[in-house]
Symmetry: C2
């Protein structure tokens, strides 16, 4: 499919792309640029064919496809390298979780002759680092591609790449993307972080070890709140407008629940609790989660 | 261990006790009282030895151990039956998720000569109904027993019962219990319900199908928010004081996160996000969850 690809930043997501690309024979040559020494040692063990490069320099010119999978806060520095060494022959993409900020960053900073199409594969876990990569991570998962009228051929090329890795490709514009994922991903993560912080505060104030009783619900949130902090800081900062709006709606609703509970509004509360079951049913129908009770988890 | 036990209310939790009691040969005779006809048909299929009774009447007198596993809102009616038909020879327990309200209810309504020791096994799932019961549901899970100075022998007897089902028994008073579980269980459930409600509101306002993109975080909350609404209404109503306090702390913290994000307070935010990883590590150390990334879930 490609003569050469380069993965810049090879943590959990980058190494999943790497593993998928090897398994699907997507490219003759696969280059990896990764600054973390521990990660580099883990990457070497994945496959002998991987070429680890130490600099982003004139080699870039020869690459067909570059996938940037560093935290988004690294992009500015990387764009300088691209402007210095790339031509329009290379297709660039990335996997950042917010899109409007990157669309703007590219518009302002990337050389006009270069081609960067934005991707966002909806896959991941709380684990960080290349050893947690998985060649099937993208299988049957959505991958959002940001529309680009003037570069339809390149968008289609990138779409074929993600499909090769198993993704189901959907097209959106960057604003639509950031709005939708502020609700389905960014708010859930912030809420999980906030719940764990609240439990930590309670523990500190009451000097009680409550974490050992987390199996009643808290443990699920602790998994999400163990996600990579650099990545999530970048997401929260870059999608702060949509976040603010949805946080406000969330707090308004939570205050209303508090009132309903304190006023013992029976049928109203019952109706609200019952209604949320529909979302779970829909998610299972759409095969967006495992259908076994408790995720089939056994511990 | 017992000549006869009776399970009143045989949904997911009741039928897990039932299955565990059969498998551990805890009692010669096992009676079940269940009002739901569909549930009764499911229960019959579990084991031929189960005796389904249609009324709570003078048969009660002959029972060694009664486990009430109905929603807590049913207790008042059941206590009337106990007062009519039971003697001090029967040990009563229940599995309700809040304990202060039930301690008070018993004090006020249960005949003084009767013996009710409160239990709360920390196990469950979002699934309702006896067909989702599991004989190993309590294995290696905490079961909280509420201290009772005057009935130490009975408390110990009940403790042996739960240990037979695989539980690790811990003793607390009812106020301590309700405070701790408001944080580790009740708030997480309310927050999950509230997040799903917020997503539903957003969907309605924006006329966008966002549920299909739930794999980025929302789906985990949808599982918890698919829990039994009767049970959770009872919990929220009965623990409203502790709930109010912890909701307030949660909202205060969330507003602070919003400010940190909008003011781009980098190191502060990063520090907070990083700190919550410790809770996950602690939970895994205490074997309160599966250690595989993403719960080992594959869909």
């Amino acid at each position: 499919m490609f003569k050469s690809i380069l993965i810049i930043g090879c943590g959990m997501i980058g190494s999943s792309i790497l593993r998928g690309a090897i398994s699907q024979k997507i490219s003759k040559k696969i280059y990896v640029f990764e600054k973390n020494k521990k990660y580099r040692n883990q990457i070497k063990k994945i496959n002998k064919k991987i070429i680890l490069i130490k600099k982003l320099d004139k080699l870039l010119e020869s690459i067909d496809l570059i996938i940037v999978s560093t935290p988004m806060s690294e992009y500015k520095k990387i764009i300088v390298k691209f402007n210095n060494f790339l031509t329009n022959k290379t297709l660039i993409t990335d996997v950042g979780s917010t899109r409007n900020n990157v669309a703007k960053l590219i518009k302002r900073n990337l050389s006009k002759k270069l081609n960067w199409i934005l991707s966002h594969p909806i896959s991941g876990s709380e684990a960080s680092g290349p050893k947690y990569g998985n060649k099937n991570l993208f299988k049957n998962k959505w991958c959002i591609l940001i529309k680009n009228k003037n570069k339809k051929i390149l968008v289609n090329k990138l779409s074929r790449f993600w499909k090769k890795l198993g993704s189901k490709v959907v097209f959106m514009n960057e604003r639509e993307h950031d709005e939708i994922f502020s609700v389905t991903s960014h708010l859930p993560h912030l809420v999980a972080y906030n719940l764990i912080k609240t439990a930590q505060d309670f523990q500190k104030m009451n000097k009680k070890n409550i974490i050992k009783y987390s199996a009643g619900g808290l443990r699920d949130f602790s998994r999400i709140a163990a996600s990579n902090e650099i990545m999530w800081r970048d997401v929260f900062f870059n999608n702060s407008r949509n976040m603010s709006k949805i946080i406000d709606l969330f707090i308004k609703n939570l205050n209303q629940f508090k009132i309903d509970i304190n006023k013992q509004r029976n049928s109203l509360l019952l109706g609200k609790l019952k209604k949320s079951k529909k979302v779970r049913q829909q998610i299972l129908l759409l095969k967006q989660d495992v259908s076994k009770p408790d995720f089939g988890r056994e511990n």
